[in-house]
Each structure stands twice: as structure tokens, then as C-alpha cells.
Amino acid sequence: MEPNGRQDDLPVVVRNLTVAYLQVPALTDVSLALPAGKLIGVIGPNGAGKSTLIKAILGLVPRLSGDVQVLGRSPALARRDVGYVPQRVSVDWDFPTDVLDVVMMGRYGYLGLLRRPGARERSLALEALAKVGMADFAHRPISKLSGGQQQRVFLARALAQDARIYFMDEPFAGVDAATERAIIELLVELKDRGRTVVVVHHDLQTVREYFNWLVLLNARVVAAGPAEQVFTPENLGLTYGGRLGYLPFPARASQAARRSPGGD
């Protein structure tokens, strides 16, 4: 779409980004260029600034310094092309509304101020719900959903947005195996359709299986690049600073270690 091919190749470019909360630096001098059409995992210990990185790229938290470009524009101007799936626990699931209504929120960006959602928004939302296997739940109050269903609803909302880049903050947190499977299949499908999908992830065991591009983060970027190049014991040691009790290496980990929980 853009005349400049580079912007399509590297939809997200971050230069020397520093973000701090109340003087405590959360991200220090982060520089990144995320490639298009990849399923990108962001991994790192708790407090490494993974959510902050996503929020800074979305323009939701103020930057101390540095520059963020999304699709060659400032984050504020690229918003319609950017889908965001916040952490599931960040909202009140007792909120008085139903599943369809939440998914329709994905279309609000197209409606703009004051305009009400209508039949078109409904049908797009229902379509998105069908994709996450929740078509039968359209009129269920969100207070009556399980954790996995909540996550699917959030995902459907992002799908309804039909963005070019997606940022997802721990979409696998607290969901059952079937939902995790369904979510990853959906992410792969998005990637195959040329969308860029950036996922904050915690389970080191599934990293190699799920993602083909990685950002290893611990306030600074430890490593970023194709998974097969950067997912090394050295880099993980640097990222987790020796706090990792075990390393998902060598190959035995791929099947056997699934029983043990993730890296946090």
C-alpha cells in the first residue's frame, strides 16, 4: 500500500526508546525493527517491560526519549491499522454487557466519535466470533464466561478490527490447552494472511513451536531476530539473569518438559 517498500517490510521501527514509571526505568534504549508477516514472540522475565514495550509502540504510555514508527507513521496516526489485545485481567469481566457487544468494540475505530454501531458491525462481529469458535455465545453476558472464553472474546474483538499489525499481551495466560491450541491456530492464520502478530509470551517450552521471530527483553533488548538464531542458552541466560532454574535445551525439552510450567 505504501509507496515506500521498506515500511511494508518493517512495519514497526523503534529507535532508542526509553520509558520510565515514576523514575524507575522500564525500558532502556530499546531499538528494534519488527519484520512484516511474522509471528513474533516477546519474551523476558516479569518486570522486563514486555507490556510496556507494547504500550509504548501503541502510544499508550509516554516516552522519555526515542522514536516509534508504525507503518511509517507515528503510533497515533497508525491506530486503525493496529489491533491490541490487552491482558485479560485488565478489565472488569463483571461489566454489564454481552459477548457480541464487546466484539463490536473492535469496529468502534471505524465508526469514530458519536456514530452508533449498526447491522454491519453486528455481522462483522458475529463473523469474528465464529472464527474463535464462540458463535453460540454472542448473547452470553461476559460475566458468565470462563477464562478461556474471555480470551477468545478479546481475540474476536481484535479480529473484528481487521488490523494489519496485532499486539497481544499474554493471550495464553490462564487458558486451557484447547483454547491455547485454537488461539495459536488463529495467530498462524493471521500470519499466513500477511499480518504481523506480536505476542508477549511466558512459556519458554512453546516458544520455538509458536514463533518464528523473537524479541528477548529485559529492560534492554538482549536479542532480536529469527527464532532459530536468537533462541540460544546464552541469550536466555542473559535475559533471565540466571533466575531460570532450567533451560528448555537441548531437544529433550520439546516433548518431555511440557509438564512443567513456564519461565515465570
Binding site: K55, L58, G59, L60, A76, R79, R80, V82, G83, Y84, P86, S90, V91, D92, F95, P96, T97, D98, D101, V102, M105, Y108, G109, L111, L113, L114, R115, R116, P117, P141, S143, R157, Q161
Partner: protein, 304 residues
């Protein structure tokens, strides 16, 4: 006299409607206590405005109320942001300090020449009988404007209350919307001061919405229902206050609202206690057969 009562009643009904509608959003936004801080913090403003202008016309007094009310809320935000004091403690500090100053100033004002007749104490608990037709017109106009505001920004306020970050990600001006909603709440509190008073005004913001939550799971139904409960509380409270002379309307309006809440808590079809009890009994009755099936084995074990 009767005509005046009707007139006042329509004022308190519209006030309850606006407070119920706006209160729904501030309750869902978890700002219920902020309304209380705001209402209490209006008292020094009312008294200061009286001392400065010497009039007891609603206009200047309510402007003063809005000024210190907003100052109180800003104080809470500043304390929470720039100190280690948590929000609940900050709210409790600001509420008591502002209200204390207000009471102190009230004492001073009443010792001023003519101060005894100022009737300022009606702002504590509300005095619907003291409301003049001009005030009612003001309340009506403002309440209508507030309902229109919610009607226009319904989708945006819902987004703000449910998932602010997502809304910001979509490019909506969430900070401005938050400010707009807060401004609406300030306005609702201020127009309610004469009828309900600073001490209890916050209850008129939250009680109708809490009651409405028991009847439905849909925000689009809660908002009008909360408005209805608020309006009915206003009418019932004003009616009851006609019984005796100089009855404070605020407590009566709030008590009427509490009755709606209690009834909802018990009988509400969505999460009312009776429905939940019934569902529990029903579920227990249904699970009994499985227990019976297990019993022979258990008895056999006991007999052996």
C-alpha cells in the same frame, strides 16, 4: 403551595434521572467514592461564595461549589500521583479536610450579620422546600443536557468504563472523554446540592445504578433503569418531605433510593438473593439422585 410542590418534585425527579444515568458510568468506572469526595468538597465553595457575594442565589453558590468540588478531586489525583499515599487514603483525607473547612466556614458565615437567615445549612442535607421555580428551571435544563451528553457519547463512555486502554488503542481521546464524564458528574452533584445536600448527594449517583445492576446484564438497560430509579427516588423523597415542615429532603430521597436497592438486592432477576437461593435449591435437588446411587455402596461398606 401544592403547585410549588409539584414543581419541586419534577425538579428532583429530573435530578435523580440525571444522577442515576451518569452515576452508572462513574460506578462502572470504579469512581463511586470519588463522587462522595466531590460532593463533600463542594461545601467550602458554597459558603465562600456566599461570604464573597452576600447573596444566596443559586448561581454564585453553585459556581463556588463546583470550584472547590473540582479542587478536591484534583487534590486526590495529585496526592495519589505524587506521594506514596494510596487512593483510598487520599480520598479520605481530602473528603474530611474539605468538609471540615466547609463546616468551619459555615459557622463563621452564620455569625456574620444576616448570616442566620442565609439558610446555608440547607446545603448540608438538602431542603427541597427552599427550592424556587428559577432553581427548578436550572436543574431541568442541566439534567436534560446531562442526559443528552450520555446519549451522544454512550458508546465512548462504555468503552471508557470497560477498557480504557483498548479505546486509546483505537484512537479515541480517552483522557478528554474521562474529563467530559467527570465534568458531567461534577455538574450533576452541583445541581443536586440544594435538594439532596453535600453529605448524601453521592448516594444518588451510585444507589440507582447498583439497584439497576440486579435487574439486567445489559448496560443499555441499566442506564435507563438507573435513571428511572433515581427519578422515582427524587419523587418519593420529595413527597415524604411534604409531611412535616423543614424536613430535610436529602435523607428521604436517599432512603427512597435505598428501598429500591434493597428490593432489587432481594428480588432482582439477574443476581438477586431470592433468585440465587432458588437456583441453589434447584441445583441441589437435581444433584440428589446421584447421591442416592452412591449410597448403597457406602451402606454396604458400613455393614461389613
Amino acid at each position: 403551595m401544592f403547585a410549588n410542590a409539584l414543581w419541586v418534585m419534577s425538579g428532583t425527579a429530573l435530578l435523580g434521572l440525571a444522577a442515576g444515568v451518569l452515576g452508572t458510568f462513574s460506578l462502572l468506572r470504579r469512581r463511586a467514592l470519588m463522587g462522595d469526595v466531590l460532593a463533600h468538597a463542594t461545601l467550602p465553595g458554597v459558603v465562600l461564595a456566599y461570604m464573597a457575594t452576600g447573596t444566596k442565589a443559586a448561581g454564585p453558590l453553585l459556581a463556588g461549589a463546583a470550584a472547590t468540588g473540582v479542587l478536591g478531586v484534583l487534590a486526590v489525583l495529585a496526592i495519589t500521583r505524587y506521594s506514596r499515599v494510596k487512593e483510598d487514603a487520599a480520598m479520605s483525607i481530602v473528603l474530611t479536610v474539605f468538609f471540615g473547612i466547609g463546616i468551619l466556614l459555615l459557622g463563621v458565615a452564620q455569625r456574620m450579620p444576616g448570616g442566620n437567615q442565609s439558610g446555608l445549612d440547607r446545603f448540608l442535607f438538602g431542603q427541597a422546600a427552599a427550592i424556587v421555580p428559577r432553581d427548578v428551571r436550572l436543574i431541568m435544563a442541566v439534567a436534560a443536557a446531562l442526559c443528552l451528553l450520555v446519549l451522544l457519547f454512550y458508546k465512548e463512555f462504555k468503552l471508557l468504563a470497560f477498557d480504557r486502554d483498548f479505546g486509546a488503542g483505537l484512537g479515541f481521546p480517552m483522557t478528554a472523554l474521562d474529563l467530559l464524564l467527570s465534568l458531567g458528574v461534577v455538574t450533576a452533584v452541583v445541581i443536586g446540592l440544594e435538594a439532596v445536600g453535600v453529605v448524601l448527594m453521592a448516594a444518588l449517583l451510585t444507589t440507582p445504578a447498583m439497584a439497576a445492576r440486579y435487574w439486567t446484564n445489559r448496560l443499555s438497560a441499566i442506564v435507563p433503569l438507573a435513571g428511572l430509579f433515581g427519578a422515582a427516588s427524587g419523587v418519593a423523597g420529595t413527597l415524604a418531605s411534604q409531611v412535616g415542615p423543614r424536613m430535610p429532603t436529602g435523607p428521604l430521597i436517599v432512603l427512597a433510593g435505598s428501598v429500591f436497592f434493597l428490593v432489587s438486592l432481594l428480588a432482582g432477576p439477574e443476581r438477586g438473593l431470592l433468585v440465587r437461593l432458588f437456583r441453589f435449591m434447584h441445583a441441589r435437588a437435581r444433584t440428589r439422585p446421584t447421591q442416592h446411587r452412591l449410597q448403597p455402596q457406602a451402606r454396604g461398606g458400613d455393614g461389613a
